[in-house]
């Protein structure tokens, strides 16, 4: 039974009223509850008065007496284990010290230790000194003794290699159990006060110990006067200070190491010029292209070509041109190509180029991703400029920010733009063969893994890096890592497939390492991947064929008078197009009026549902 409480003045009974103050009468609380509530009433005129303190003798409010009968509910315990320790109390604290800036410097060791009378630079004196030492008896004994010791160890080394790897071939059994993960290794921040976006990253070709990052501000007219134009080459060991500072005349939008010569870098500037650097010569560009012959817009894409001299590169910009350069002579480009898909070379109709793609194994072909969402494949060796543009692939709603061929299946390539990433096959021009779902944020960059043919990486505007394993899961990325809070703009995978650098809007480049499951080739992966790509390509081809059939059927059914199937309108000028559209419009109207007379209801339904109209129709019938 619950202990009984002697209810004092805070209970249910109320003392008589004392001039307006005092607990109001309240109904008694329900049995079994213990309310300790004090209600009082105060006159409005008395609000805000200063406190008047007075002494009052102590009052017992609650008095719970011990109830010996309760003891019967408990059992006495004897003996009791109590732990005590006679030691001083310790508490753990953590303190983060200020970042300690370290710098590695080399010391040049000059010859030393020579006695005062010998000048180390004088050959004669040193030789004489040496001869003198060699004549010493102690020297002879020591050498003989040490010689035998040394020989013993050398023979040991030659007899057996004690550090030999015995079980090299046995790989670690199953890595499949480990969930994919990515670890941040290092973070490189833009040392300037005004932060710029890291727009392009390029790894050093030998050994990838250095990372070149191009910084610029891509927001329209947002660059202030104080914004520095510098771009940096970082050494992975030293995130505090850049290894080399590159000083162009305008901020760099793209930057690439020459894969053949690791000292040469070429960069595309915000103002359209191309510059190249030699790291042995310092931070100033060795040569800059002339403004008149360069691009008119920021140079978004820059790739080195395979050539005998190793000095050829080509660049693309949103002004609609692709220019080829030889860095030995940057005064004018060696070749130009206008991205006009009507194949007339008219600059006004050209599509702005953003992403470039070039595979050294197919040196005559290259691809350009444009601002309008179209990928253009081009053939460099075509004789006329019109033939240079081979085909187009459209399917993105917005600019294509990244374009990459699969290193294992060169016929398939990845495009990243708007809210999706799409995989295409060169054979199916109508649409992509595989695509990711529409995300909540824009996708800004992407690349294939160099080790596994089905893995690719994408970055998004919400600061996440997604790793997709298309064989395993197609509806969601296998791994989604939130790298930082600001948008990520660029991404570059190191050649070993393990390290990724991501550049963000505030110029922070984060270096991540992916777990081994994502960068080791699984058994049978190539065959399964081949099967997957072929299957999807076949599916697209079948769909394409069906679409074509349907369109053909509709056309022959509806417009019985049209003789031939005209090629899509993109090759006509606007005036011709308008005339043709008008003519067709009137023809159709007349045909319908005639059909109406024949079978009224059926023709109206047909007209309303005609999906196979040639492009260029903006009229709803």
């Amino acid at each position: 039974p619950p202990p009984r409480v002697r209810e004092g003045p805070c209970g249910s009974t109320s003392p008589p009223d004392k001039g307006g103050r005092g607990p109001a009468a309240r109904p008694p609380p329900p049995a079994g509850t213990m309310e300790i509530v004090y209600v009082y009433v105060k006159k409005r005129s008395e609000f805000g008065r200063q406190c008047n303190f007075s002494d009052r003798p102590a009052e017992t409010n609650v008095d719970i007496q011990p109830d010996p009968s309760q003891a019967r509910n408990f059992i006495e315990r004897d003996p009791i284990d109590a732990a005590i320790q006679c030691a001083s109390d310790m508490s753990e604290h953590e303190v983060n010290t200020e970042r300690f800036e370290m710098e590695n410097e080399g010391v040049n060791h000059l010859e030393g230790g020579w006695p005062k009378d010998v000048n180390p630079l004088e050959m004669e004196q040193t030789i004489r000194f040496r001869k003198k030492v060699e004549k010493d008896e102690n020297y002879v004994n020591t050498i003989i003794q040490l010689g035998s010791l040394m020989e013993h160890c050398i023979k040991q080394n030659n007899a057996i290699n004690i550090y030999e790897e015995y079980f090299d071939d046995e790989e670690t059994a199953d890595i499949a159990d480990e969930p994919p993960s990515a670890k941040t290794i290092n973070v490189f921040r833009d040392p300037n006060v005004i932060k710029r976006t890291a727009t392009h990253l390029s790894w050093h070709p030998d050994g990838s110990k250095k990372l070149a990052v191009a910084y610029s501000s891509l927001e329209f007219q947002r660059s202030s006067k104080d914004m520095s134009y510098e771009s940096y080459i970082w050494d992975l060991e030293n995130p505090n200070r850049p290894d080399l500072v590159l000083r162009p005349s305008s901020t760099l939008v793209s930057l690439e190491y020459n894969p053949k010569d690791s000292h040469i870098l070429v960069g595309g500037c915000y103002n359209g010029q191309i510059a190249y650097w030699d790291t042995r010569k310092g931070g100033q560009p060795v040569e800059l292209s002339t403004v008149e012959f360069s691009h008119r817009d920021p140079v978004y894409g820059m790739i080195w070509l395979q050539s005998k001299t190793g000095t050829d590169c080509f660049s693309a910009s949103t002004d609609g041109q692709v220019l080829w350069w030889d860095i030995r002579k940057l005064t004018e480009p060696t070749e130009t190509l206008v991205m006009d898909i009507s194949r007339k070379g008219v600059l006004e109709n050209a599509l702005g180029a953003i992403a470039l793609e070039f595979e050294p194994t197919m040196p005559t072909k290259f691809m350009v991703g444009t601002e309008q969402g179209v990928v253009i494949t081009c053939n460099r060796k075509a004789k006329t400029p019109a033939e240079k543009i081979v085909g187009t692939y459209s399917g993105h709603h917005g600019p294509i920010y990244a374009l990459a061929r699969n290193p294992f299946f060169p016929k398939n390539f990845l495009t990243v733009g708007d809210w999706t990433a799409r995989i295409w096959s060169e054979d199916s021009k109508e649409s992509s063969i595989m695509w990711t779902k529409y995300h909540m944020a824009y996708l800004t960059d992407g690349c294939w893994s160099t080790i596994r043919p089905v893995v690719f990486f994408t970055t998004k505007m919400d600061g996440t890096l997604d790793v997709w394993d298309f064989l395993f899961k197609q509806n969601n990325p296998s791994l989604s890592v939130k790298v930082c809070d600001e948008p990520l703009f660029s991404l570059r995978l190191q050649d070993n497939g393990r390290f990724i650098g991501c550049g963000s809007k505030l110029g922070t480049v984060t270096l991540l390492e992916v777990s081994s499951g994502l960068c080791t080739l699984q058994r049978n992966e190539k065959n399964v991947a081949t099967a997957m790509f072929e299957r999807e390509t076949k599916r697209e081809k079948i769909l394409e064929a069906r679409h074509r059939e349907m369109r053909l059927k509709e056309r022959t059914k509806a417009e019985g008078k049209e003789e031939d199937v005209k090629v899509e309108t993109e090759e006509e000028t606007p005036e011709e197009l308008l005339a043709r559209v008008q003519k067709e419009f009137f023809e159709i109207i007349e045909a319908e009026i005639r059909r109406k007379e024949r079978a009224a209801k059926l023709s109206r339904a047909q007209v309303a549902q005609r999906p196979g109209l040639p492009k260029g129709w903006g009229v709803a019938l």
């Binding site: 230790g113 040496r130 020591t142 050498i143």
Partner: protein, 85 residues
């Protein structure tokens, strides 16, 4: 004198031996089969390292002494036989 020559030649002739340097107590290279700049670099660096290694061994146990020092790296192995000085 001839024995010294013979010893050094024998050491150099073994399989896998890239070069031999003889350094005196002050760190001056007396005999070498490598080029000058490399010799100077090795002599200076290894001399200091050997002294440090010897003092370490001695600090731990004064009765002990360093007999041999091998530095195994990815590319080579440097073997140092310290004299009694």
């Amino acid at each position: 004198m001839a024995e010294v020559e013979e010893t050094l030649k024998r050491i150099q002739a073994h399989k896998g031996v890239i070069g031999t340097i003889v350094v005196n107590a002050e760190g001056i290279p007396i005999r070498t089969t490598l080029d000058n700049s490399t010799t100077v670099q090795y002599a200076g660096l290894l001399h200091q390292l050997t002294m440090k290694a010897r003092s370490t061994v001695r600090d731990i146990d004064p009765q002990n002494d360093l007999t041999f020092l091998r530095i195994r790296s990815k590319k080579h192995e440097i073997m140092v036989a310290p004299g009694n000085l």
